[in-house]
């Protein structure tokens, strides 16, 4: 992966396979290229070289629209800065991905998922009326409501205090287990990474397995 006017190699010589149902943590320092890798894996961006497959489909020959089509209804996202739309209520934010394709029971599903993350009473609240933790829980409901097969989480606790972050992570893993979703989590937090089935660290543009005590568990 290269970027900028002057060629800058961010990721190189990477080989990674993520299996259905597994949870994978990608660790790395700030600026190591974690988000770039996440963007590539989710098909949000195209690599300057190499091959990528999502759900067994090679991404190389797909344009941005083709890649979007592959994600539709199958991929969920959780972001560090929540990415809730400020003029939409909690319920409407969760409804957003469901509305892209006609769903008869979209609203009841959204309500149900909000209830599952403990926000059944806050459906009509705007993001600015919710705390950071509550906002991230709305984002979790939004990621899982579509029945995602794969969820990407980018530093999901980065903007939260440790206690709230802990609760969010508990919820995330609980939902993941219940739904049998594949989870790719990007973080710089080793403790959080250790809760995943597998951990990889991004160092100098390459992925290295974390072994021994570091991997823990």
């Amino acid at each position: 992966m290269e970027s900028g006017e002057r060629s800058l190699t961010i990721l190189s010589d990477l080989a990674l396979e993520v299996f259905p149902g597994e949870s994978l943590a990608i660790l790395g320092q700030s600026g190591a290229g974690k988000s770039t890798l996440l963007g590539l894996l989710a098909g949000l961006d195209a690599p300057s070289g190499g091959e990528l497959e999502l759900f067994g489909e090679p991404l190389g020959h797909l344009d941005e629209d083709g890649r979007a089509g592959l994600r539709a209804g199958r991929v969920g996202f959780v972001f560090q800065n929540f990415q809730l739309l400020p003029t939409l209520t909690a319920l409407e934010n969760v409804l957003l991905p469901l509305e892209l394709v006609p769903h008869g029971d979209a609203e009841s599903r959204a309500r149900e998922w909000l209830a599952r993350v403990g926000l059944g009473e806050r459906l009509g609240h705007l993001p600015k009326q919710l705390s950071g933790g509550e906002q991230q829980r709305v984002a979790l409901a939004r990621a899982f409501v579509i029945g995602a097969e794969l969820v990407f989480a980018d530093e999901p606790t980065g903007n939260l205090d440790p206690a709230t972050g802990e609760r969010i992570i508990d919820t995330l893993f609980a939902l993941n287990r219940e739904a049998g979703t594949t989870l790719v989590l990007v973080t710089h937090d080793h403790a959080l990474a250790r809760r995943c089935d597998r951990c990889l660290e991004l160092v100098g543009g390459r992925l290295e397995p974390i072994v021994g005590e570091e991997a823990g568990a």
């Binding site: 996202f77 939409l88 892209l100 006609p102």
Partner: protein, 859 residues
């Protein structure tokens, strides 16, 4: 409709409803509503007003179309006119002698039928006070003018003799329904029924009689008859219609019409600017939505469809509301005006409604289109990397697209492609100049602010310095706002300026002491005595002009009809005797536009032309001065020679000067002026015009008694009617101005709403650093005031240039510098933007810093 399309419609509708929570969508909606309301209100109003005013002009004329000739019209023509959808009324005009007892008086007879009048009512005193009657005199009766009653000592019920018939005086005419008809006749009016004419025996072969058909009907019907009318003109029939033959009403109407269209356009332009400003913010806010939707798997097409449909809903809702507002606005306006309008206006048509919807779509597409396309190019990766915003569209594309759409609307409204193109090019250049000028002005202001003495505390200087620095920090946004405000103030100022000058020009044309009486037939022997009689009675009077009647018989030696362009062959000047005068100096109200006045050729004027006979017995041509309009119509230029038959003699004149004059001045005006020393030897009389107040009836009676041979014409009724029309148009103009101001405020609202998040962030920061409410309020006030001041200055410059161009090219008014503008526009701008901005940002100052700072994160 497929399920998917239905889903897209529902989704977009839902999205729009949610979006209404955001200020920018509300601003967008408001701007669109205003654009549609302005377009439809002015469309509806103009449509109806114009039809109404044309009808009123028709009332002055007696019909929408008037045909006149010296023999009866044949039945075939009558049938053609009726088949074209026109209602006809017959009228016969002649000069005859009437008597009452021993007294005789020549009168101007107007014989009318049962269909008279097409429009309006006559005011007649039938012995029981003034009444409004929608008909003419009945059979066996006659209505007489007050002057005739005075001269023949008549009262209602008296009998008078007209030719061989005897008629009963049915009433004294205070105002004829068609007062200007017969204006050319100098004798007092007598109106009678056309069926009584045969009994009078006045219609004889050889008698001078004018037969008229007065036709009333829709303008389109008259327009369709144009080929026939052209043929009639060529056959010597005098054809008059409301637009061609009422110069005053015609020009007032044309100007009002243009003004209203111009104001409508200004409102639409302003709304367009507001739409552009609101769209920018709308798009910026939706970049995140678009990126998220991309993440969730939405294709580019889905995104485009979603946002396009959403905005289409917005445009439709705005069209509906705007059209309703426009309809209500014009109804309110007409309710205000109906009292002034003697005619009932036709109901509103549907055409302006479509114009409104079209306007909304065009404004949205043109002013918002390129910015909206940015949403299409959002990358899904933006959710991870915020800096990945797609580049804003090139300013050239945005401005170019908006300008093209605006020019198209301009074309649609004005029907003048040349003007649209000129304004488009001029506007583009002006914008370019504005951009650099605005930048320079902003830089200068900020430099001045930075140099303000740093006095302590929360003083005005500190507020100005801080406010200036805030503006400098977001230079490009500030410049954008500056230009938007400048355009808004410019449009408002221009419409206000044109209104003032337009009304001023109208009022100047008809000042309080405009002559309301003409005196003609003043014999040379009475001249001095008449002048003396007037001196004591009124200050407002024109000079006494000698008048000789002569017919134009040759142009450069050729018969006039052959010498003039084809379309001028039916011109009245070729068919009738012209009133010629002589004069040493240029008459009051005349302007020389080509050649030299006689005084500049002393030898010519003073020698006495009839003594200078050349050796071969032929007289050299006499220098003459010609009215410019006539010269243009007949294709005449300096150096052409005109031959006039006066009595049994001929006079040849060479055109040595051309004059512009104001036919609407209610003063004696002449097509042809000779130098002194040429026409004196022909029989002549004098004409003058003067103003007499209503209460000065005694003077009139004295003049009638002392100068029985002099004919006095009262034109007060015509004057009053013309003033009435101008008053109505003035009201309309003022209301439309109010609408433009409203549209201007919508720009301010949209621009300020769009800048609120950034301002909130700044206010939050200042708060965090310890700024009090008072300081914040002052800093924001100073910032807005500086913006307003700079945009006011720019707008003044732009308005001055544009108004000069408009007057010169479109409204036919002399250009002038408006000094006041340079003072009140910057000050007014500072005050308006200051106050509105201050009010809109009041909420921000009440917010806790945390909330204000959070606001920015939502963009």
């Amino acid at each position: 409709m497929t399920a998917q399309r239905y889903h897209a419609l529902r989704l977009s509708w839902r999205g729009l409803r949610r979006d209404l929570r955001a200020g920018d969508v509300r601003a967008l909606f408001l701007a669109l509503v205003l654009a549609v309301a302005a377009a439809t209100m002015i469309g509806f109003f103009l449509d109806r007003l114009e039809r109404g005013l044309t009808r009123q002009a028709g009332q002055l004329l007696g019909g929408d179309l008037v045909l006149e000739q010296s023999r009866p019209f044949d039945a075939a023509l009558r049938q053609t006119l009726e088949e074209a959808g026109l209602a006809l009324s017959d009228q016969v005009d002649m000069v005859s002698m009437v008597s009452h007892g021993e007294a005789f008086q020549p009168v101007s007879v107007k014989a009318v039928d049962d269909a008279y009048p097409h429009y309006g009512v006559s005011r007649v005193d039938r012995g029981t006070g003034s009444e409004a009657l929608p008909s003419g005199p009945g059979r066996g009766t006659a209505w007489v003018a007050p002057r005739l009653a005075l001269l023949l000592d008549l009262e209602a019920g008296d009998r008078l003799r007209v030719g061989r018939a005897e008629l009963e005086v049915g009433g004294i005419i205070e105002r004829e329904a068609d007062p200007s008809a017969g204006f050319g006749s100098f004798n007092p009016r007598l109106m009678m029924h056309v069926d009584d004419l045969p009994a009078t025996g006045l219609v004889q072969p050889g008698s001078r009689i004018e037969y008229e058909i007065l036709a009333a009907g829709p303008a389109e019907a008259v327009a369709e008859l144009e080929p026939l009318l052209e043929r009639l003109r060529r056959d010597g029939v005098e054809v008059r219609d409301v637009r061609r033959d009422r110069p005053r009403l015609g020009s007032a109407l044309a100007r009002a019409d243009r003004y209203l269209s111009l104001a409508g356009l200004a409102a639409v332009l302003l709304a367009g600017v507001a739409v552009a400003m609101a769209t920018r913010r709308y798009v910026e806010r939706h970049l995140d939505t678009a990126a998220l939707l991309r993440c969730f798997g939405a294709s580019q097409r889905t995104l485009v469809r979603l946002f396009a449909l959403q905005l289409l809903w917005l445009a439709l809702a705005a069209s509906l509301l705007g059209a309703l507002l426009g309809l209500a606005g014009q109804a309110a306006l007409l309710a205000l005006l109906t009292a002034l309008m003697p005619v009932e206006l036709p109901p509103p048509g549907l055409a302006p409604l479509w114009l409104g919807v079209l306007t909304a779509l065009a404004v949205l597409g043109g002013f918002a289109g390129p910015t909206l396309l940015r949403l299409r190019r959002v990358s899904a990766l933006k959710v991870l990397r915020r800096e990945l915003d797609p580049l804003p569209p090139s300013a050239w594309l945005v401005v170019g697209m908006a300008a093209a759409v605006f020019a198209a609307l301009l074309w649609l409204y004005s029907g003048d492609p040349g003007l649209s193109l000129a304004l488009l090019v001029g506007g583009g250049l002006a914008l370019l100049a504005l951009w650099s000028l605005g930048g320079a002005l902003l830089a200068l202001l900020l430099r001045l602010c930075a140099r303000l003495p740093p006095r302590g505390g929360e003083g005005a200087w500190q507020a100005l310095r801080l406010g200036g620095r805030q503006l400098a920090r977001r230079r490009s946004t500030s410049l954008g706002q500056l230009l938007a405000f400048a355009v808004a103030f410019f449009a408002m100022a221009m419409i206000a300026l044109v209104r003032g000058d337009l009304l001023g020009a109208w009022q100047a044309q008809l000042p309080e002491d405009t002559p309301n009486h003409f005196a003609i037939n003043i014999q040379p022997g009475e001249r001095a005595a008449f002048e003396e009689a007037l001196v004591g009675a009124t200050e407002a009077r024109s000079a006494l002009y000698p008048m000789v009647r002569g017919r134009l018989t040759a142009i450069d030696g050729r018969p006039p009809r052959q010498a003039v362009p084809e379309e001028a062959r039916g011109d009245n000047a070729l068919r009738r005797e012209l009133n010629l005068t002589w004069r040493e100096t240029l008459p009051e109200g005349n302007r020389l536009v080509a050649g030299e006045w006689f005084a500049a050729r002393p030898s010519a004027a003073r020698q006495g032309w009839f003594s200078a006979v050349e050796a071969d017995g032929r007289r050299p041509p006499v220098p003459i001065s010609l009215e410019n309009g006539l010269a243009e119509r007949l294709g005449l230029a300096l150096g052409d020679t005109l031959t006039f038959r006066i009595g049994s003699d001929s006079v040849v004149g060479e055109v040595t000067s051309l004059r512009d004059l104001d036919w609407d001045s209610f003063r004696p005006n002449f097509y042809v002026i000779f130098p002194p020393g040429v026409l004196e030897r022909f029989g002549h009389s004098y004409i003058t015009a003067f103003h007499l107040d209503d209460g000065n009836r005694q003077t009139l009676r004295r003049l009638v008694n002392d100068f029985p041979a002099v004919t006095l014409l009262d034109v007060e009724a015509i004057l009053a009617r013309v003033r009435e029309v101008l008053t109505q148009v003035t009201r309309a103009v003022e209301l439309v101005l109010g609408f433009v101001l409203l549209a201007g405020i919508s720009v301010l609202y949209a621009a300020l709403t769009a800048s609120l998040p950034v301002r909130a962030h700044e206010a939050g920061l200042l708060r965090v650093f310890g700024a009090g409410n008072r300081l914040l309020s002052r800093v924001q006030g100073a910032e807005f005031a500086l913006l307003g001041l700079a945009s006011g200055l720019l707008a003044a410059l732009l308005a001055e240039l544009a108004v000069a161009g408009l007057y010169w090219g479109w409204l036919d008014l002399p250009p002038r510098v408006h000094w006041g503008l340079w003072a009140w526009l910057p000050l007014g701008g500072a005050l308006t933007v200051g106050v509105i901005g201050h009010l809109l940002s009041r909420g921000l100052r009440r917010q806790a810093p945390a909330a204000s700072l959070g606001l920015l994160g939502e963009t």
